[in-house]
């Protein structure tokens, strides 16, 4: 069997005395949605930063499409087909929505007209078609999340790393964005998402990795992971798994 599109192999990242990520391994296959969950401070965002090239790992390897990409700078990874969104949205606030997405679109299209055509298409796909001429700083939270998605998508990635795109959205906004994410994977893009909104993880992800205190403590389908004793303890504290089992008893 061919190797999955993204393979993270034993990655560690140390900040001084703190081991933020400890020998974590995971993989994300093409055209599938994979989720990375875990309690606050588990090291999810750090692991994302390593995969997307913003941090160099202290140890371990990252392979993408069969090649070792460990420690490559972010712009080169983006050219190779890895796009990411930021947990704290990073719009180019002074620019219009159109110009924001244009930055991403120019990666594969040098000519302005071709890039602008991609912007129109992507804008429509994520539901920003009507606000392309508005300044990015006037967007609502949900609009900014969509803008993050649109910019990343405009780079025409093979792998999309989504860092909490649903956080801070209300249930109806989540309901609107979920199909957008699902459409990416239908187009063959591998999606690896960090997510706290469990309802979305359960309905979107096919495979889940659970990170706690820098280690992968469980992996499997959403249902398997949700029933896993180690996962329940990581979220709710020591001894919680037995209590939950007894309560359901």
């Amino acid at each position: 069997m061919a190797e999955p599109l993204l393979v993270v192999d034993g990655v560690s990242r140390r900040f001084g005395g703190l081991l933020a990520v400890n020998a974590a391994s995971l993989s994300a296959p093409a055209a599938r949605i994979t989720a990375l969950i875990g309690p606050n401070g588990a090291g999810k965002t750090t692991l994302f930063a390593v995969i997307s090239g913003f941090l160099k790992p202290s140890a371990g390897l990252v392979r993408f499409a069969g090649e070792d990409i460990t420690g490559e700078p972010p712009y080169r990874l983006a050219r190779g087909g890895i796009a990411r969104t930021f947990q704290i949205v990073q719009p180019f606030a002074g620019l219009t929505v159109r110009d924001n997405i244009l930055v991403g679109a120019h990666l594969r299209h040098r000519a302005r007209e071709a890039a602008l055509a991609v912007v129109e298409e992507v804008g429509r796909e994520v539901g920003l078609g009507d606000v392309l001429d508005r300044p990015a700083h006037t967007l609502t939270v949900s609009g900014r999340k969509r803008l993050e998605l649109a910019r990343a998508l405009a780079t025409e990635p093979k792998l999309l790393l989504l860092d909490e795109v649903l956080a801070g959205l209300n249930p109806s906004e989540i309901r609107d964005i979920v199909p957008v994410v699902r459409a990416f994977c239908a187009r063959g893009i591998a999606v690896l998402m960090i997510e706290h909104v469990m309802q979305a993880v359960m309905s979107l992800a096919e495979h889940v990795f659970v990170l706690a205190e820098g280690r992968i403590i469980a992996t499997g389908s959403p249902q398997e992971v949700a029933a896993d004793a180690a996962v329940i303890e990581a979220y709710l504290g020591h001894g919680a798994a037995t209590k939950v089992r007894n309560a359901h008893g």
Binding site: F54, P73, Q90, P91, F92, R112, R151, T155
Partner: protein
């Protein structure tokens, strides 16, 4: 063609000035103003579009000026060739300073301080090195012929500097519309987000620095042709670094016309203040300073930015009132 229409109009208006104005004082004022606009436009490419605020653009002005002056005075090189060499030397200096500063990851105030330091080091070197004429400076031989880039009439110089400014406006517009320009602005707005979208921020900033330095160096080369003299205080003096950043900031950073508008306003203001205050020494500078503070307070995006805001607001209101009128008619 619509892309360049405003530039064509602006340049045409300025080109018509010598038809109506024959005063050498006014023409001299305009030549110097346009030279500052050219230097400022250089700064604007890096600072305005790229968000990298240099405090040492004198490094490029002086390098351009000294290169052409040395080549002409010491080696008898043709002035036009010297001019081209000066621009190339300025670009190279931009590549060196930019390469060192951006590779080291210097941002915002650190970048500003390092550029200032480079300009100061160059000023001190130029004031002691024999090749730059040390404290005496360099005089270029008077030779009023077009092939030595010297002209009898002020108007001819005026058209030359106007052509250079026009070229710098076109370069800015071309950059705005190019992939490079889109990436440059993205780096200004948010470097990390730009890198995540595939932008090699260091390379983009370095490219902008080289173009920026070349344009400001052209202003330095022009200075030498016009005044036939250069010394360390003029070439690498802090005054030029400040003029180069002040004009686009007052006029409108990151806009095609920012530096030109800024230079016209700032220079007119300076002269106007001198006329009003007459003989009282220093009072004109106080008026000048006060007006600058007011402009920055009330138009933080510069004059062009403020005009764009007013136009946008007016335009919206106009559209809205037309809509209500249409509805009333239909109603």
């Amino acid at each position: 063609m619509k892309t360049f229409l405003p530039i064509a109009l602006g340049v045409a208006v300025l080109a018509a000035v010598p038809i109506f104005v024959h005063s050498n004082v006014v023409l001299n004022f305009l030549v110097v103003t346009l030279m500052i606009a050219l230097a400022g436009q250089g700064w604007n490419i890096l600072g305005g579009y790229g968000g990298q605020y240099s405090f040492g653009h004198a490094a490029f002005f002086g390098t351009g000026a000294y290169t052409t002056a040395i080549l002409q005075a010491n080696y008898g090189v043709n002035a036009w060739l010297g001019f081209a060499a000066g621009i190339a030397a300025g670009a190279a200096m931009g590549g060196i300073i930019g390469g060192l500063a951006f590779r080291a990851g210097l941002r915002s105030s650190y970048f500003a301080l390092v550029t200032l330091a480079f300009a100061e080091v160059l000023r001190i070197l130029a004031s002691v090195a024999p090749i730059t004429g040390a404290g005496v400076g360099i005089l270029v031989k008077l030779d009023l012929r077009a092939q030595s880039f010297q002209f009898q009439s002020r108007a001819s110089f005026y058209f030359v500097i106007l052509a250079l400014v026009a070229a710098s406006l076109i370069i800015a517009r071309l950059i705005e519309r190019s992939r490079f320009g889109v990436w440059l602005v993205a780096v200004r707005e948010n470097e990390d987000a730009a890198m995540a979208l595939g932008v090699n921020a260091t390379a983009v900033k370095l490219g902008a620095m080289i173009v920026s330095a070349a344009i400001t160096a052209a202003a330095g080369c022009f200075y030498v042709q016009y005044f036939l003299f250069i010394d360390a205080g003029i070439g690498y003096g802090t005054w030029m670094s400040i003029e180069a950043l002040l004009t686009p900031i007052i006029g409108g950073v990151g806009t095609v016309f920012g530096a030109l508008v800024g230079a016209l306003v700032v220079k007119s203001l300076g002269e106007g203040a001198k006329l009003i205050t007459g003989d009282v020494p220093g009072l004109d500078l106080m008026i000048y300073g006060a007006v600058l503070v007011l402009v920055i307070r009330f138009a933080p995006r510069g004059i062009v930015g403020a005009l764009a805001d007013i136009y946008a607001r007016f335009g919206r209101r106009f559209a809205a009132s037309r809509k209500t009128a249409v509805e009333a008619v239909r109603g």
